[in-house]
């Protein structure tokens, strides 16, 4: 579905991505892990075209282009078929939960208000927030805001949902409610890319894990390959420092 080849991105003189190759198949859940500053978020942001990559090839379903020669159509295609769930939720502050979910449906997908409302309520129900539809973001907890953000992303039915550290800004009690929703999304067969430091969760729900180090892919494979059976000392060292304990994994299976 997505095939990224030799993707480069730098901010002024700082090279962040130094030639990333990544393949994501239809319906796959891919976890992207690595230390802070390794380029995880930048990779997601390049795929959503929030950042323009400097060099590389992107093949995404119907479009196949060299990023240096990307046309407006290519970029629009990338943007309209990928949706990001942000660390800071980024709900529209002046809109209710319902309006947040409806916004893209009405403005981008040009659906009628009634239809958009029906779809939006359906997705708010999926994330368990139907009774909060009329609340403004400032009237919701962090976990609830993130669930609304997930509903907003899901409602647009993008081909890929990108999760950029979706639980990093939440306190421990709220992390679980958000992870549960993401898990449900994963089970529904949606293609997803997740950047997260919740190693147990990544281990549990991902089909594939990619370990980034200094803007390059250090290893990719099944969660077991990367997190447990790795031969790489750097990854061993990383895994030993994050809260990954294999025997706890099942506890996270809510």
């Amino acid at each position: 579905m997505i095939e990224v080849k030799k993707l480069h991105k730098s901010f002024k003189k700082l090279q962040v991505l130094k030639g990333i190759d990544l393949t994501v198949n239809d319906g796959e859940v891919v976890g992207i892990i690595g230390a802070s500053g390794s380029g995880k978020s930048t990779l997601l942001r390049c795929i959503d075209y929030l950042e323009k990559p400097n060099a590389g090839q992107i093949h995404f379903d119907e479009v196949d282009f060299d990023v240096k020669k990307a046309t407006k159509g290519d970029i629009t295609y990338m943007k309209s078929h990928t949706t990001m769930v942000f660390q800071q939720f980024n709900l529209f502050k002046q809109k209710t939960a319902l309006e947040n979910v409806m916004e893209g449906l009405v403005i981008v997908q040009k659906k009628s208000k009634e239809e958009a409302k029906k779809i939006a309520l359906e997705y708010l129900e999926k994330v368990g927030l139907l009774d909060r539809a009329g609340h403004y973001p400032s009237q919701l907890s962090g976990g609830q805001q993130q669930r609304v953000a997930i509903a907003r992303a899901l409602a647009l039915d993008p081909k890929v949902i990108l999760f950029d550290e979706p639980t990093s800004a939440l306190d421990p009690e709220m992390i679980q409610e958000v992870l549960k929703v993401i898990r449900d999304v994963a089970k529904s067969g949606k293609t997803m890319l997740i950047v997260s430091h919740e190693m147990n969760f990544i281990y549990d729900i991902c089909d594939k894990v990619v370990f980034l180090e200094d803007g390059k892919v250090l290893q990719e494979g099944t969660p077991r390959d990367v997190l447990i059976n790795t031969e790489n000392d750097r990854i061993k060292q990383f895994v030993s420092k994050v809260n990954f304990v294999e025997r706890y994994v099942n506890q996270y299976s809510i």
Binding site: T76, M84, F86, E103, G104, L121, A133, S138
Partner: protein, 247 residues
């Protein structure tokens, strides 16, 4: 004392002044709206800094803030006919400045003056909008224009609201200078009426009362608006009530 100062006149003047109030309100509202549109455009130029256009607006803002509004009214009143004359001379056209209603000069001068000031707080308000909001809009596929219209402006509006109120109050008071452009607003009308009996002082007091009342009305409206747009204090809209469905 009754001959020097007649306080009853202060109030009896007011009904007669009211016939000029529509002009004052018209100039205030039209100039205000235009000043916001131009102010927004200038603010966007200041933010995105397109070449040439940015330099032009920087000059315009600097000039406008550096000269008194009274002088600017004279400049438009005498400047626009001169420009027309020049155009006629250069291209052989036949525009006649005397067909331009004098209110147009006042509207142009006041709105351009106010727009220069407005652009500054509009810029600050737009820049106060969290980048994450723009990225979220971008991520769900909204275009730059849609994001500006649907997300950025509504949020910037909340921040800018107190300054917007101030700008309107200033505009209402600046209209007292439009007699320079031969527009008869309440101040000009007051002068004309007072010319009949030389009771200028009473007339200026009547005018003060009217301007003060206008200002109070504007600030009350804006206080109400400010309360309304504060989203956190809004009452929750119940769209779906779990308890009702169960019943």
């Amino acid at each position: 004392m009754a001959n020097v100062f007649d306080w009853r006149l202060i109030f009896s003047n007011i009904p007669e002044l009211m016939q000029y109030l529509p002009i004052t309100l018209e100039v205030t509202i039209i100039s205000y709206v235009m000043s916001l549109v131009v102010g927004l455009a200038v603010a966007l130029i200041k933010i995105h800094k397109p070449r040439v256009l940015y330099q032009i607006t920087a000059f315009y803002v600097s000039f406008t803030r550096g000269t008194p509004v009274l002088v600017q009214l004279y400049l438009t009143y005498f400047g626009i006919p001169m420009i027309l004359q020049f155009i006629n001379y250069k291209w052989g056209t036949n525009y006649n400045a005397s067909f331009i209603p004098s209110i147009v000069f006042a509207l142009v001068a006041l709105s351009l003056n106010s727009a220069a000031y407005n652009s500054e707080f509009i810029r600050a308000a737009i820049e106060s909008v969290d980048r994450g909001q723009i990225e979220a809009a971008n991520s769900i596929g909204m275009t730059g224009w849609q994001t500006l219209r649907r997300i950025v402006i509504p949020e910037a509006f909340v921040v800018a609201l107190p300054s917007l109120g101030n700008a309107l109050i200033n505009m209402a008071k600046s209209t007292s200078l439009v007699f320079t452009c031969a527009v008869v607003d309440i101040t000009a009308g007051g002068k004309l009426i007072a010319g009949r009996n030389y009771r200028y002082f009473e007339m200026y007091l009547s005018l003060s009362i009217i301007y003060w009342a206008i200002t109070l009305v504007i600030s009350t409206i804006f206080r109400y608006l400010e309360k309304r747009v504060k989203v956190g204090d809004k009452e929750v809209v119940v769209i779906y009530d779990r308890s009702k469905k169960a019943a």
